[in-house]
């Protein structure tokens, strides 16, 4: 380290990070020279907890991996279990799942927009956006019975139906959301101080985005039009007309635009779902104490933050034998470090927030032996033996 450089720690407690995570920045005056992420402050052992609970109980555990994309995790999980069961879910259930997923995307993207405004010190915009986000929150609350953890998808379908007489009201709420989002897009594009803080900040080239495995809006902001909903459609995304949004400039401003435009797309998808909701049952029965046949499955879902991967392994009991979750933020961290390098200290929060990080879904466990300066990881079998040894 040169004489002029010193390190600053952003996190695990820092106002710019809403979750505990540590980034060690090497800075030279106001410039960031290098950054080293340290994840693992919020490891909650969810995968292990899932191995100890039945398939029905796991529905609600997996929902709590993330507070904002809870529905994506649940959808991903149910898809996995249904694949193992060889179960086909009713059409109406599929539409309701898509509706929920898109409402969740609207809620997540508006939330992000507000947080981004807060990170660049534009609190007024933050308050307005969060006020208007309440519309979609109310809608979700009415449909599912809870603001955040909707608990809608279940194995075999969804748990609540959408009342036909409420649909006109929902459509009106969607209009309000669309209008307000247009207004905010206009503000972001014309307010000089916002442009000064977002345009050209946190650049990630297309090549780097692909090389570093960026996912989700972060990838699409670098000009790669890749979206799980289009690349390997699940549920009924292949029946619904919609577009993949991508922008080429690769900076924070492109991130804003991608997310705002995706909100518009989501509003349209929701409208389509509400207007074309097929009749029929909403679920096929899966016994709450049911067993799942032996096998393994992987399912992909486009969460608001990007590609979400769940893996399941069953040994024919009523509990999964192994469950593995790869949340989108983990995929985005290498790209994030690339974006931060060479920027200003002042841009750290907005670039960090630019990938819409969700660290508690990301955390991995690494063993560290400080005395011997060693780090290592363990696979499932090693971990099991380690546990047996420990308690012997």
């Amino acid at each position: 380290m040169g004489k002029r450089e010193f390190t600053i720690h952003v996190g695990p407690q820092h106002p710019a990070l809403k979750e505990p995570e540590n980034f060690v920045f090497k800075v030279d005056g106001e410039y960031v020279v290098d950054v080293e992420p340290r994840i693992g402050y919020n490891h909650r052992g969810i995968e292990k907890a899932m191995e100890n609970r039945t398939y029905i109980q796991n529905l609600y555990i997996v929902e709590r991996v993330c507070g904002i994309c809870s529905n994506s995790h649940q959808t991903c999980y149910t898809q996995n279990v249904e694949e193992l069961l060889g179960m086909e879910i009713p059409e109406r259930a599929k539409y309701i799942r898509v509706l929920l997923a898109e409402l969740e995307r609207i809620h997540s993207h508006l939330l992000w927009l507000g947080v981004a405004a807060h990170e660049i010190g534009f609190d007024t915009l933050f308050y307005y956006i969060w006020r208007d986000r309440e519309v979609v929150m109310d809608m979700l609350e009415e449909i599912s019975g809870n603001r955040v953890n909707y608990a809608m998808p279940t194995i075999g379908g969804v748990r609540r139906d959408i009342a036909a007489d409420k649909i006109p009201k929902y459509l009106k709420m969607l209009d309000v959301l669309e209008e307000r989002t247009k207004f905010y897009k206009n503000i972001c594009a014309t307010e000089k101080t916002v442009l000064a803080r977002a345009d050209g900040v946190g650049f990630l080239s297309k090549e780097d985005a692909i090389r570093l495995n960026a996912v989700g809006p972060n990838l699409r902001a670098s000009g790669v039009a890749s979206d799980i909903r289009a690349d390997s459609p699940y549920l009924v995304y292949d029946e619904i007309p919609w577009n993949v949004i991508s922008y080429d400039s690769g900076d924070v401003f492109a991130n804003v635009l991608v997310r705002v435009d995706e909100t518009f797309e989501s509003v349209n998808i929701c409208r389509y779902c509400l207007e074309h909701l097929p009749d029929g049952p909403i679920r096929t029965i899966f016994s709450p104490l049911g067993k799942v046949p032996e096998g393994e499955a992987v399912s992909l879902v486009e969460a608001p933050r990007g590609e979400l991967i769940h893996y399941i392994q069953s040994r024919g009991t009523d509990k999964p034998y192994r469950y593995k979750i790869r949340a989108p933020t983990l995929g985005n961290i290498p790209a994030l470090c690339e974006k931060l390098r060479g920027g200003y200290i002042a841009d750290i929060p907005i670039v960090l927030a630019g990938i819409d990080p969700c660290f508690s879904c990301t955390d991995r466990m690494v063993f560290v032996d400080e005395d011997r300066d060693k780090r290592w990881e363990m696979n499932g079998e090693q971990l099991r033996r380690y546990g047996v040894e420990w308690y012997k």
Binding site: F6, I8, E30, G121, T124
Partner: protein, 339 residues
């Protein structure tokens, strides 16, 4: 009749000195918080007193009762001294600004006045920022040091246009005393009303330009948005204040309020005619009204913008504000020469 010693003591400590200014500073904080909250569609402080008017006082009392922590690595003496300086310096500067005379209901005079007190005010403003720098630096926290350097950079960039803009009215009034400047404004207003002449228009225009430059610079001086990067919360965790807690933080907050009053009082006296107004209302009321308007202007700006980065801020100052202020002072010289 009150003996002169007692009268000066009252002036310094009660009215229009210490206690008056302090309560007015808290009132201004309340006005600004309430106003920003309403702009953002919130309610703002609500429960302490009528519409939360006692909230700033309650906050200060709470902070006084809190644990006061000094970091181990900090320079203890400087660390403890600087909050006092940040509080006392703007208070001293306000003593130089004419508000109300104690003996004559319709008269106004600063507590202390002499030829050149404008320069002293400018000097005190710089010393405030110097003490902010020392406060951040002595706390031996990395965020604090970054905040302190940013504050110093900001001072270098904005002190010059601020000084120049404040000299404008002084040139017109041909005096460096704030009291005389106020008198000049009253005089010329009187002249204009009794015999309107065209010369007043460029003067008024120039004063308006000076007012704008001064407002922008004072926003930077007060570390209000868009110039709040020395204490940017999401970036460097309140910058130079990060290690302060308890009593010291309470003093810093009060200091900030007093600075807000000082800034609006300066704007009022140099550009808006100070405590002078039509007859039936005493000067002190005029003064309070005008400063409240200035507080509203300052806090409106802080709701309207996003935070600028420090380099954009410095660039903006050197590229636009400094040349503008030099042009302004040249125009002022020419016009004043013609008069």
């Amino acid at each position: 009749m009150i003996p002169p010693v007692l009268s000066s003591l009252i002036q310094v400590f009660i009215f229009p000195g210490f206690i008056f200014i302090l309560s007015y500073a808290m009132f201004c904080e309340w006005v600004s918080r309430k106003f920003v909250a309403r702009l953002q569609n919130r309610v703002g402080p609500l429960y302490t007193g009528w519409e939360g008017i006692l909230q700033p006082l309650a906050d200060s009392i709470k902070l006084l009762a809190k644990e006061d922590i000094t970091p181990k690595a900090a320079d203890k003496f400087v660390f403890a001294l600087m909050p006092v300086a940040v509080f006392a310096l703007p208070l001293t500067a306000i003593f130089l600004i004419p508000i109300q005379s104690l003996t004559n209901l319709w008269g106004y005079s600063p507590i202390v006045s002499f030829e050149g007190d404008l320069i002293i005010v400018l000097f005190l403003l710089s010393v405030i920022i110097l003490s902010i720098f020392l406060a951040g630096w002595s706390s031996a926290n990395r965020f604090g040091i970054i905040g302190a350097t940013r504050a110093a950079l900001q001072m270098l960039a904005y002190e010059i246009p601020l000084g120049i803009a404040m000299i404008g009215p002084a040139i017109f009034a041909r005096s460096l005393s704030i009291g005389k400047i106020v008198e000049w404004q009253a005089q010329s207003m009187h002249n204009f009303l009794s015999a309107p002449n065209l010369m007043a228009i460029p003067v008024a225009l120039l004063l308006a330009v000076g007012f704008i430059i001064c407002t922008v610079c004072l926003l930077a001086e007060l570390e209000l948005r868009p110039f709040d990067s020395p204490e940017a919360e999401t970036e460097i965790v309140h910058g130079w204040q990060v290690e302060y807690s308890g009593k010291k933080l309470g003093l810093l907050r009060l200091g900030h309020d007093v600075k807000l009053v000082l800034a609006s009082a300066l704007l009022t006296s140099l550009f808006l005619g100070g405590p002078i107004g039509p007859w039936p209302i005493p000067p002190v009321v005029w003064f309070l009204l005008k400063t409240a308007v200035c507080v509203l202007i300052l806090s409106n700006a802080s709701a309207l913008f996003a935070r600028l980065r420090i380099d954009q801020m410095l660039g903006g100052s050197w590229r636009y504000l400094a040349p503008l202020s030099i042009l302004y002072i040249m125009a002022v010289q020419i016009i004043a020469g013609l008069m």
